[in-house]
Amino acid sequence: MDVRGWGWRHASRRAWAVERIDLAIEPGERVLLLGASGAGKSTLLHGIAGLLGGGEEGESRGEILVDGRPSDTMRARIGLVLQDPENQAVLARVGDDVAFGLENLAVDPSEIRTAVPAALDRVGLGGIPLDHSTSALSGGQKQRLALAGVLAMQPGLLLLDEPTANLDPDGVVQLRDAVLGSLDGRTLVVIEHRVSTWWHAVDRIVVLGSDGVLADGRPDTVLGAERERLAAAGVWLPPLDLTAPPPPVTMPAPPRVEADPLMTARSLSVGRRRKPFAATGLGFTLSAGSAMAITGPNGAGKSTTALTIAGLLPPAAGELVAGKSLRRGAGPSPHAWRSRQLLDRIGTVFQSPEHQFLAPSVRQELELGPRALGADTTAAARIAEGFAERLGLTHLLRAHPFSLSGGEKRRLSVATVLTASPSLIVLDEPTFGQDARTWGELVRLLREQLTAGRSIVAVTHDREVVDALCDVELRLTTPSSHAGGER
């Protein structure tokens, strides 16, 4: 694969998303592609896969050759797994979905019948019936299904875009091993922020910067020689680099006397429907200045629990009561509050950031909360610009929220909630898609909220977030009873 002076600009943006990329990858190489959030890693991967369209989507410079020919004529040789597993299953049944790519390549039906179970076996989904519904799979299974669909096509070049994002730690290891076990000498290019997952498995690391390739070479050379430069670019270095802005180690002493907790749950069950409940028997107390992590495997009901705490879903059973300091005149049950009452009491960052964007630009998105709370134009603008500055979104203030990269969308969604200064902040996977620098800034920002006496509930698979932020961990399991406890 040969990338020569390549660049791409989205139709709606003035700045180039990626520029001046020169990169040659030999057959059989395993490459980890790193770079700061928003550096254009996904765009490059789509370019290599030959999926960036013509005039109306944007314009390109330079060329990308695969096996010496333009990449958009070589699609059959290239397998790409996209960032978002939810939208990748094409068909309703597992077997059909894996067969889809083979059918498009006009593979003989008798060969497809043997290739499909083989591909499912390789990614560890061999136990699932071929007519199982694709939408009934868990997040990790969906991601592995997408991988199986691509592997079945026997691509010479495998491109993976953050394949382990939002997977629980076991799922991460399973997926990585599924990838490695099925390479058979294929070329691999994988994007991931956490170097440690792929560190030992790749033989080359390429770091993307704002003007082209920042570093390129063997993992130990790149990470050894260029440590400081990479840290400045926000690369996660193994072990977690201590020069990247570390969260302060001292915790503000949480008020031990819990005469008036922010929120109390007793034998709480949560669920979107009556039965089966997503989680049952939850008990915890949230107090001002402290943070609780909700952890557990995919499918344990973490998001449903968070939405219930946030007053967006009614408790399915049991008790969830807001304390006086959180209520401030509203009723005891957050679910009964009006929307405007929720705004400055409980803020929620959703798992999928796109659901919560309301405005056509990043600036308006950030000003919305303060304006709703009665801030005048200049005050709202000052708050918006402050958050944008801290989270590296200043150059994007005029961009449409949907046009941001995955990591940028995540930071914007956290910022929109913080602008309204709610007393309780509920976050679902707050650090998804962040590089080491933006991660550090995000965690510091959240810690400041704690110091200011606010409380945080965070659903996360990110162990470092739990360690840096939270003093209580609510560990959910599937499917029996749960209890909160002090760590």
């Binding site: 929307s339 409980i346 709370l373």
Partner: protein
């Protein structure tokens, strides 16, 4: 909507190409639409009821699915009995409504028709899975694969729309903009959510088409089908069965002298 989910099974009827099921019910429908009389519809309905046990649909599910027909048929009958064209003996008049021999006969024909056309359609569609239908449409009827598979993939996303709608409502509530006052405010608010849903759906469709393209869909070359759709003995048998019901119903009506071309006498 669980009661509308596809009835699955491994009996012969479940494995038949959906295209044959459509053809069979269309034949019956066609024969009953060219004439409006009680004999043809009655004959067809009796024959169909005899076949119900072999349709591979459990009774419970059958009742649920046909509930619309069971309600619609008498309603149709009452309306036509009261307001249908008047002829023969008149039994009573109230305002514009007149019940007569003519209107009663038409009412019976119409009600039987609703049942006789609706029953096979409901029965056969109950066992049709959208994936199988797509296979049949593309392979047996040779509709373009791009169109059929595009529609099928889109159909799968419909299920996500309900979830998206919930998430959008919750997100708006969390961001303090969901307190819409009054009916007008509520309408405007839901309009805004609907627009956001549309935007999300288009974005999802964009990602999905990218995923499909990444797996070689949309190329100009030929395409194979992992599960070839057959149109074999069973399929022909079902179509013949449909044709037989249509023919018997028509012959019976002609023999009874009640056959007419769309109600003309």
């Amino acid at each position: 909507m669980s009661f509308l989910e596809t009835v699955r099974g491994d009996r012969r009827i479940h494995l038949i190409n959906p295209v044959a099921k459509i053809a069979a019910s269309a034949l019956i429908g066609l024969a009953l639409l060219v004439t409006i009389d009680p004999v043809s519809a009655g004959t067809a309905l009796v024959l169909e009821l005899l076949l119900v046990p072999f349709a591979g649909v459990p009774w419970r599910s059958l009742l649920l699915r046909t509930s619309v027909l069971i309600v619609a048929a008498p309603l149709t009958a009452v309306t036509i009995a009261l307001y249908g064209p008047v002829s023969g003996r008149v039994y009573g008049t109230f305002l514009l409504a007149t019940v007569s021999d003519g209107s009663l006969q038409l009412a019976l024909s119409a009600a039987l028709r609703v049942l006789a056309i609706g029953l096979p359609a409901v029965l056969l569609v109950a066992t049709v899975d959208s994936t199988d239908l797509a296979d049949g449409l593309a392979q047996t009827w040779r509709l373009p694969a791009r169109f059929v598979l595009g529609a099928l993939a889109g159909l799968r996303l419909l299920g996500l729309l309900a979830e998206d709608w919930q998430s959008l409502l919750m997100a708006r509530r969390a961001r303090g903009v969901a307190d819409a006052g009054g009916l007008l405010g509520r309408v405007r608010f839901l309009g805004g959510v609907a627009f956001a849903l549309l935007v999300l759906a288009i974005r999802r469709a964009g990602t999905l088409s990218l995923a499909m393209e990444a797996r070689g869909f949309g190329g100009s070359g030929p395409r194979t089908w992992a599960r070839p759709a057959r149109f074999g003995r069973d399929e022909w048998l079902l179509v013949l069965l449909g044709a037989a019901i249509a023919v018997i119903a028509t012959v019976a009506a002609v023999a009874a002298g009640s056959w007419n071309f769309i109600g003309a006498r």
